[in-house]
């Protein structure tokens, strides 16, 4: 309720700003907030990273388990991607089973990484019955909008630092590693909000509360690898290609942050 009222009030002010080609925080329409990535933020995990995107914060941790492969991919490991919207991160997040928002977030991050084929899942096979399960978990610690991009960056940095666990007789020896996980590329996403016809990169929470449509584009190199449109608004074909160009242009910038 409170969110809706505040959103409605801010939306009017925000629209007045957009007419003047301005945003609340003074950014250009195609500009990211400051990005900061800390490596190895949860040292007990096999790989981890903490991303600050403006005031949004996401902690990603990677653990391994041993399990049975899926019947349709008997020679491949299993990737499980989850996003937790911690109730301490925002008063709009409530404790309980994953909300549709959390599931969508996790699946969009997963889709980018999976469709770009940057992890050789075949290398996670142990024997005919056992494969490594890669648990990629993102914990949203503070929510100020654009969790899609923050989660993808956290996931990518954590994957790049991930150490493969030592496996003996189908069991993981925790604390011992055999080398780094092979990651063959870097996927980034760029998320846009459409408000009254204006297209904004990296929306803040205020902007997200006012937006009509959201679009997330995953990019690797000069190719798009995933897309997800959200909310009930619509996009024109011209707008889609305009955003695709911006996402591709921003990819290099984000890769620099991820590569540190």
């Amino acid at each position: 309720m409170m969110v809706e009222v505040l959103g409605a009030i801010k939306k009017e002010t925000l629209k007045a700003f957009l007419v003047k080609q301005e945003r609340f925080d003074g950014r250009k329409f195609d500009e990211y907030r400051p990005i900061e990535i800390q490596q190895n933020a949860a040292p007990n995990a096999e790989g981890s990273a903490l991303v600050h995107l403006g005031k949004s914060q996401v902690l990603c941790g990677i653990k391994f388990g041993v399990g049975a492969p899926y019947a349709d991919t008997p020679d491949e490991g299993v990737l499980s991607t989850m996003v937790e919207l911690l109730p301490l991160a925002s008063f709009t997040f409530e404790p309980g089973p994953p909300s549709p928002e959390a599931i969508e977030l996790g699946r969009v991050v997963d889709r980018g990484i999976r469709s770009a084929k940057i992890i050789d899942m075949g290398k996670l096979k142990i024997d005919d019955e056992h494969v490594l399960m890669l648990y990629l978990d993102m914990y949203v610690l503070d929510h100020d909008g654009n969790l899609f991009d923050a989660c993808t960056m956290a996931a990518m940095r954590a994957l790049l630092d991930t150490q493969l666990p030592k496996v003996e007789e189908g069991k993981i020896i925790f604390g011992e590693h055999t080398g780094k996980l092979d990651v063959s590329g870097i996927v980034t996403t760029s998320t846009f909000a459409k408000i009254d016809g204006s297209l904004l990169l990296d929306p803040t929470l205020d902007e997200q509360l006012a937006m009509d449509t959201r679009l997330t584009i995953g990019v690797m190199g000069d190719k798009a690898v995933s897309m997800q449109k959200g909310l009930s608004g619509a996009l024109t074909r011209e707008e889609l290609f305009q955003l695709l160009d911006i996402a591709k242009a921003k990819h290099g910038e984000l890769v620099k942050y991820i590569n540190l």
């Binding site: 800390q38 190895n40 933020a41 949860a42 040292p43 007990n44 995990a45 981890s48 903490l50 600050h52 005031k55 902690l59 941790g61 990677i62 653990k63 391994f64 388990g65 989850m82 937790e84 911690l86 109730p87 301490l88 991160a89 925002s90 008063f91 409530e94 404790p95 089973p97 399960m133 648990y135 978990d137 914990y139 610690l141 503070d142 929510h143 100020d144 993981i172 925790f174 604390g175 011992e176």
Partner: protein, 274 residues
């Protein structure tokens, strides 16, 4: 910056520590205390290094971050706010809802399931009970005060770290309280009473006693124990716990004071420094 009555050991990363084969230890009877020194080099009455930061989150009304040895705990407080579900609301005062959960990647071992389990639900309950007695709940009838604690990394003693973080976060949120709560655990390891058991000591010790103490009242607000202890051992442990709690309370107050004396930039540099 911090006045320390208790000696802190520097966090020496002992690679051997990681590789202690726990099953072998049980069989071979490997000592947890050698020449009066514990596995990580501490004396019996020494705490692991503790760092507390208040007001680390943007949206929560109050928040705190605690690093305690290798434990890392984040607390956020919302409220007083509308009580949900509404039929839970009490006309006599605010409902305190503590929720302790562990991140799936927080431990050195297996990937955990997210969300609460029987252990974390019990911890949430005893935390709630501890805070109920110090918060002026009667000021806010029909509301709730939600205290969320997430364990980002665990190494034995997370419930005490969680309580200390929650206590700072509640003050940071401006919740009126009679007293602050400070928690610390003592343990019996290799027939000796020690303060603040680390993970190995916790797993292979003979007793573990988490205590939460009212900083001013000196009353015991939370007490759990598993293991076997004599009365003398209990007295010794309580001695340690009370003097450790006094020191920890000073760290809590320092953290809250720094909220008003530190710039945003300086704060950012200290949060989650790893």
């Amino acid at each position: 910056m911090m006045v320390s009555s208790m000696n802190q050991v520097s966090e020496t990363q002992n690679p051997k520590l990681l590789k202690v084969d726990f099953m072998a230890k049980k069989k071979d009877g490997l000592k947890l205390i050698v020449d009066g020194k514990r596995l990580d080099g501490r004396a019996a009455d020494q705490l692991r290094p503790v760092r507390i930061e208040a007001h680390v989150l943007n949206d929560a009304n109050g928040s705190a971050y605690v690093e305690w040895g290798k434990n890392r705990v984040l607390a956020g407080v919302y409220g007083p706010q509308e009580c949900i579900p509404k039929h839970d609301a009490s006309p006599y005062g605010a409902l305190i809802k503590c929720r302790y959960t562990m991140a799936s990647f927080c431990s050195l071992e297996e990937h955990g399931r997210s969300g609460p389990n029987r252990r974390s639900i019990e911890i949430s309950k005893v935390m709630t009970d501890a805070f109920k007695s110090v918060i002026f709940t009667e000021y806010y009838p029909k509301t709730q005060i939600a205290v969320f604690v997430e364990v980002l990394q665990s190494d034995g003693g997370t419930r005490c770290a969680a309580i200390n973080a929650a206590s700072v976060a509640l003050v940071d949120a401006g919740i009126p309280m009679r007293d602050m709560v400070t928690a610390v655990a003592f343990a019996k390891v290799d027939d000796q009473i020690v303060i603040d058991a680390a993970k190995e000591e916790d797993n292979f010790g003979q007793a573990d006693v988490p205590v939460a103490i009212g900083a001013n009242s000196k009353e015991i607000l939370l007490l759990q124990m598993d293991g076997i202890l004599s009365k003398e051992e209990m007295q010794q442990g309580m001695e340690y716990a009370y003097s450790a709690a006094e020191y920890l309370h000073r760290l809590q107050k320092d953290a809250l004071e720094r909220v008003f004396t530190t710039t945003a930039q300086e704060k950012k540099e200290t949060f989650l420094r790893m």
